[in-house]
C-alpha cells in the first residue's frame, strides 16, 4: 500500500472535520440540524472509508463503506427525520450544562483522548494511526452529548454518533473489523434504532412528550 501525502492530507482533513462535527453536535440545540450533522458525520466517515479502500485495496472496506452510506447517511437520518416529523419534536430544551461549559469539558476531553491514543498510535502500522486519537475524542464527545441532552431523541443521536466514532476508530486502527463482526454490528445498530422508534411512540403516548424528566420516577432518594 502506498500513500501519497495528498491521501493522508485528505484523510486527516476528514478526521478533523469529524471532530468538528462532534463539537457542533455538542453545541447544537435544534434536533433537526442535529440529525443533519449526524448524516454529515456519516458522509465523512463514508468518504474516509472509500479513500482507504481505494488506497489499501482491501475490498471489504468497500462493503463497509457501502454499509455506512446505506445506514448512516441515508437510512437512519431519514428514519429520524420521519420520527421528528411524526412526533413534532424539533427543539431540545436547554441542555443541562450551558454551551461554554460543554465546550470547555469537550476540549479537556479531546486533550485526554489524544493523550490516550498516543501509545496506540505509536504501535499502529496503519497510515491513519494519527486518526485514532480523533476517533476516541469523537466517542467521548458523543458521550458528553448524551449526558447533557434532555430529549430522548437527541440522546439517541448522541448514541449513533458514538457508533460512528467506534466505526472510525476501527477503521483507522485496523482498517476495519472482520466482515462477520461488521455485519453484526450494522444489524444491531439498525435493530436498535427500530426498537428506539417503537420506544418513542410508546413514551410519547404515555407522557405525550419525549422529555427525559418524565423518566425520573424510579429512584432511591425518596
Amino acid at each position: 500500500m502506498n500513500f501519497t501525502s495528498l491521501d493522508l492530507q485528505l484523510l486527516n482533513t476528514c478526521a478533523a472535520l469529524l471532530l468538528l462535527v462532534s463539537f457542533a453536535m455538542l453545541s447544537q440545540r435544534r434536533i433537526v440540524s442535529l440529525v443533519n450533522l449526524l448524516a454529515l458525520q456519516g458522509t465523512l466517515l463514508c468518504a474516509a472509508t472509500l479513500l482507504l479502500a481505494w488506497r489499501t485495496g482491501q475490498h471489504h472496506l468497500y462493503l463497509s463503506a457501502a454499509l455506512t452510506l446505506a445506514l448512516k447517511v441515508v437510512g437512519l437520518p431519514w428514519l429520524l427525520h420521519r420520527l421528528i416529523r411524526r412526533l413534532e419534536v424539533y427543539w431540545d430544551t436547554e441542555p443541562l450544562i450551558n454551551m461554554p461549559g460543554a465546550m470547555l469539558v469537550g476540549l479537556v476531553t479531546v486533550v485526554f483522548a489524544f493523550g490516550l491514543a498516543q501509545p496506540i498510535a505509536e504501535l499502529a502500522s496503519t497510515a491513519t494511526r494519527n486518526a485514532i486519537g480523533i476517533a476516541v475524542a469523537v466517542i467521548l464527545l458523543a458521550f458528553i452529548t448524551m449526558i447533557t441532552r434532555r430529549k430522548a431523541m437527541s440522546q439517541v443521536v448522541g448514541f449513533l454518533s458514538m457508533e460512528n466514532g467506534l466505526f472510525f476508530g476501527a477503521m483507522s486502527a485496523t482498517y476495519g473489523m472482520p466482515m462477520v463482526v461488521e455485519l453484526g454490528v450494522a444489524l444491531d445498530v439498525l435493530v436498535a434504532v427500530l426498537v428506539l422508534g417503537i420506544f418513542f411512540f410508546q413514551i410519547r403516548e404515555q407522557f405525550d412528550s419525549l422529555d427525559l424528566h418524565h423518566l425520573e420516577s424510579l429512584r432511591e432518594d425518596q
Binding site: H60, L116, P119, I120, L123, A124, S125, I139, F143, M146, A152, Q155, F159, M162, E163, L166, G169, A170, A173, T174, Y175, M177, P178, M179, V180, V181, G184, V185, L187, D188, V191, A192, V195, L196, F199, Q202, I203, Q206, F207, H214, L215, E216, S217, L218, E220
Partner: protein
C-alpha cells in the same frame, strides 16, 4: 449435531412463536422448545465431558468446561422459567395486564433471548460475542417494557441507553483487542478475534493496548453485570419487567456478562503479567457488595430488593474472580451456579406472591405462609439460601470465597463480612414480615407452578452438602483455565 440443535431450536422457536405466539398452545410450545434446548445442552455437556473441548462452525464456536456448564445452566433455568411462566402469564392476562399479541412478543423474544445468550456463551469470536450480547440486550429491552406502563417504559429506556452505551465501550475494547491481535496473528481478518487463537498467543499481545482494551471491555460488559456504579439500570429493569424476565435477567444474563468479562480478563492478564485486571475486578466487586448491601435497607418493592441482592452477589463473584487462583475461581463458578438457581427460584416465588397480593410493595404482602404454604416456604427457604445460610450451596461458595479472601486479601474480609451482615438484616427482616403473620390477599385462580422453585432449591441444597465428583472436576478444569491469583 447437538450443538446445531442447541442454537437452532431457540432461534427457529422465536420465529415460530413470532407467528404463533398468541395462539392457545403457545405457552406449551415455549416449554417444549426450552425442553429440546435443554436436552441438546445436556447431550452437548455429556459429549464435552467425554471428548473434551470442541471447536466447530469453522472455529467460530468453541466449547470448553467454562462455558459448557454455563450453557447447561442456562438451558436448565430457561426450561424451568418457561414452565413457571405458563401459569404466571395466564394470570397476568386474566388480570388484564397483558393481551394476546403482547404474549406473542413475549414468547418470541424469550426464545430469541435464550438463543442470543447461548450464542454469546459458545461463540469463539469475541466480535460475535459482542454482537450476541447487544442482541440479547435488545430482546430483553422489549421484554422489560412488556407491560407498557410508564414505569416499565422508563426502566426499559434506562436499560437501553445505559447498556447500549456500555456495550459501545465494549465494542471499542474489542476493536483495540483486534488491533493488538492483528500485530501477532497477522491481518488475515477472521482469525484475529478467535478466542482460542488469542489465548494461544496471549503472552505476546501488546500490554499497553490490552490494558486500555480491558478498561473499555470492563466498563462495557461490567455495565451488564451490574457492577457499581454502573448498576443503575438493573433494579429498575428487574422491578418493572414481568417476573419470568426478572428471573432470567438475574439468573442468566448477569452470568453471561460475567462470563464475557472473565474471558477478556484471561487474555489481558496473560499479556500484562500484572495484577492490574485482578485489582480492578476486586475493586468493582467490593464496591458493588457494599453499595448493594446498604441500598437493600431502603427497599419497599420486593423485586427491587432481590435485584439489589443480585448486584451484591455479582459483586461477590467478581471479587472472587479478581482474587483468582484455583480455589477462588472454583468458588466463583459455584457461586454463579447456586446464585442463578436460587435467585430464579426466589423470583418465581416472588412472582406468585405479588400476584396474590396484587402488589409488589412489600407492606402489601403479608402472611404468605398462611395464604399458601408452598409459596411461603419457597420464599423463606430461598431467601435463607441466598443469604448464605447453610446447608444451602450459597454458603459453600461463600465459605470458600471468605476463607480464600482471608488468605489472599485479609484487608477485604472485614468489609465483605460487614456487608454480608447488613444485607442479612435488611433482606431477612423484610422477608420474615412478608412470610409470617395473618394472611391478606385473594386466592390465585391458577394453581401456581412451584415445581421449579423446589427443584432449584433442592439442587442448591444438594450442592451445599455434596458436589458430584464430575461436576467438581469440571469446575476445577474451568478454574484452571481461568487461572490468575
Amino acid at each position: 449435531m447437538e450443538f446445531a440443535v442447541l442454537l437452532a431450536t431457540p432461534l427457529g422457536g422465536s420465529m415460530l412463536l413470532a407467528l404463533w405466539g398468541h395462539r392457545r398452545r403457545a405457552a406449551e410450545i415455549n416449554v417444549a422448545l426450552s425442553l429440546v434446548t435443554f436436552l441438546a445442552a445436556t447431550a452437548l455437556t455429556a459429549r464435552v465431558i467425554g471428548e473434551g473441548n470442541l471447536l466447530t462452525g469453522r472455529d467460530q464456536f468453541f466449547i470448553d468446561p467454562f462455558n459448557v456448564f454455563l450453557v447447561a445452566l442456562t438451558a436448565f433455568v430457561g426450561l424451568t422459567t418457561a414452565i413457571f411462566s405458563r401459569p404466571y402469564m395466564r394470570v397476568e392476562i386474566e388480570h388484564g395486564r397483558l393481551n394476546a399479541h403482547r404474549l406473542r412478543l413475549y414468547h418470541s423474544m424469550y426464545q430469541l433471548f435464550m438463543a442470543m445468550m447461548l450464542v454469546a456463551l459458545t461463540s469463539n469470536n469475541l466480535g460475535l460475542l459482542w454482537v450476541a450480547m447487544e442482541a440479547a440486550t435488545l430482546s430483553t429491552v422489549l421484554l422489560v417494557t412488556l407491560y407498557r406502563t410508564p414505569a416499565s417504559l422508563e426502566a426499559g429506556w434506562k436499560y437501553f441507553i445505559l447498556c447500549g452505551v456500555g456495550i459501545a465501550q465494549a465494542l471499542f475494547g474489542t476493536i483495540l483487542l483486534y488491533f493488538a491481535a492483528e500485530k501477532v496473528l497477522g491481518a488475515e481478518g477472521v482469525r484475529a478475534l478467535l478466542w482460542t487463537d488469542l489465548a494461544a498467543v496471549k503472552g505476546e499481545l501488546e500490554p499497553t493496548v490490552l490494558s486500555l482494551a480491558f478498561v473499555f471491555l470492563l466498563v462495557g460488559y461490567g455495565t451488564k453485570v451490574g457492577l457499581a456504579p454502573l448498576h443503575n439500570w438493573l433494579p429498575d429493569a428487574h422491578a418493572e419487567g414481568p417476573t419470568p424476565v426478572s428471573a432470567v435477567l438475574s439468573g442468566l444474563l448477569l452470568n453471561v456478562a460475567i462470563y464475557a468479562v472473565v474471558r477478556c480478563k484471561v487474555l489481558v492478564e496473560g499479556s500484562l503479567q500484572s495484577s492490574l485486571p485482578s485489582n480492578m475486578l476486586m475493586g468493582f466487586g467490593l464496591l458493588s457488595v457494599v453499595l448493594a448491601a446498604f441500598f437493600l435497607w431502603r427497599q419497599r418493592d420486593i423485586k427491587r430488593l432481590f435485584a439489589y441482592s443480585s448486584i451484591e452477589h455479582m459483586g461477590i463473584v467478581t471479587f472472587a474472580f479478581g482474587m483468582g487462583g484455583a480455589v477462588a475461581n472454583f468458588a466463583a463458578l459455584l457461586h454463579m451456579t447456586v446464585h442463578s438457581l436460587t435467585k430464579s427460584a426466589i423470583f418465581f416465588a416472588v412472582g406468585h406472591a405479588a400476584q396474590k397480593a396484587g402488589s409488589q410493595r412489600m407492606e402489601d404482602i403479608r402472611g404468605l405462609l398462611a395464604m399458601n404454604p408452598t409459596i411461603g416456604w419457597g420464599l423463606m427457604l430461598g431467601s435463607l439460601a441466598i443469604l448464605g445460610v447453610p446447608p444451602f450451596g450459597v454458603f459453600a461458595s461463600e465459605f470458600l470465597i471468605l476463607t480464600t479472601a482471608m488468605k489472599q486479601q485479609p484487608w477485604a474480609t472485614p468489609i465483605l463480612l460487614v456487608a454480608l451482615g447488613v444485607a442479612f438484616a435488611a433482606i431477612f427482616g423484610r422477608v420474615q414480615s412478608m412470610v409470617y403473620g395473618e394472611a391478606t390477599g385473594r386466592r390465585l385462580p391458577h394453581q401456581p407452578a412451584l415445581l421449579p422453585v423446589f427443584a432449584h432449591l433442592a439442587l442448591v441444597l444438594l450442592l451445599g452438602l455434596y458436589i458430584p465428583p464430575y461436576l467438581a472436576e469440571w469446575y476445577r478444569a474451568a478454574a484452571r483455565m481461568i487461572g490468575g491469583g
